[in-house]
Amino acid sequence: MNDAAEFQRLYELHGREVWALAYARRMDPDLARDVMQEAFLRLWRAWEASEVIRNPRAWLMKVARNLAEDMAKSAFRKNGTQGSDFMIILPGADDDPVKKLTRDEVFKQLRSELKRLPESDREVLTYRYSLEYDVPRIAEVLSITVAAVHMRLSRARQRLAERLTALGVTETL
């Protein structure tokens, strides 16, 4: 029986993973949040329509993947929303404003460099640093080998280090 409790359980279990998948694809936290919400809403509607979903996690990930593609193409997303940079530079109550601005500038450059990485590398980085998954777990989630995860992580870190060095970002680390 699919009910609210089961829905809540699935959200607790897979919500962050769905968010991470959408984020890794578009590097937009707001879009990723909207994708996550819409994916779960569709799951609920599918249940209401008596659709049999044998593997909710796989179903959610597939829906989220399609939604991330579709939403990125829409004019609303291209023209209608504030970029996430705007949110990041808002100073926190207990942060030193100078430090905060410096950090935001570093993050801005880091995001720009992350966007240049292959999507597969970004995906591994997101699972590693956003969800704090270890390497075997990432390999399981992405259905790739542990060696492939190590390789992608190492390659991505190296590229980022090189590019950030070239941009002079290392001084602020």
Binding site: A4, F7, Q8, Y11, G15, R16, W19, Y23, P29, R33, D34, Q37, E38, F40, L41, W44, R45, N66, L67, D70, M71, K73, S74, F76, S84, I88, R103, V106, F107, L110, R111, L125, T126, R128, Y129, S130, R157, L160, A161, E162, L164, T165, T170, L173
Partner: protein, 121 residues
């Protein structure tokens, strides 16, 4: 000097933490009234929605093909060859249209006399 792996690790951890919604949003199953409300974001049409259009196109092409074949079947085919006789007289037509090709059935008078009129003559 390039950043160490530890520096990159720390930077990435900070960055990805900052990207996550904080606080993490809660979710509740929508009730029936909420489902009537249109979502704030207009979602693009799912890929599967393109299928009816493709089916309609395929059906149109099929109907067009069947109709053209049917119309071609209705058109009269010109008959040529030695068996066609264009000099048919009215007598020929009458002869062809008579249902029985043999001699005419005897009339009542003939039945009485037992002799057909032709034979009298």
């Amino acid at each position: 000097m390039p950043p160490s792996e530890g520096d990159i690790d720390r930077l990435l951890t900070e960055f990805f933490r900052a990207q996550q919604p904080n606080p993490w949003p809660t979710i509740a199953p929508p009730d029936s009234e909420a489902r009537e409300i249109r979502p704030l974001l207009k979602m693009a049409t799912p890929k599967r929605a393109g299928m009816p259009g493709r089916w309609a196109l395929a059906a149109s092409i099929l109907i067009l093909a069947v109709t053209s074949i049917w119309l071609a079947g209705l058109a009269p085919t010109p008959r040529t060859g030695p068996d066609v006789n264009l000099n048919i007289t009215d007598a020929d037509l009458r002869l062809k249209s008579s249902p029985v090709s043999g001699p005419a059935p005897p009339t009542k008078a003939e039945e009485k006399t037992g002799t057909p009129k032709d034979k009298k003559k």
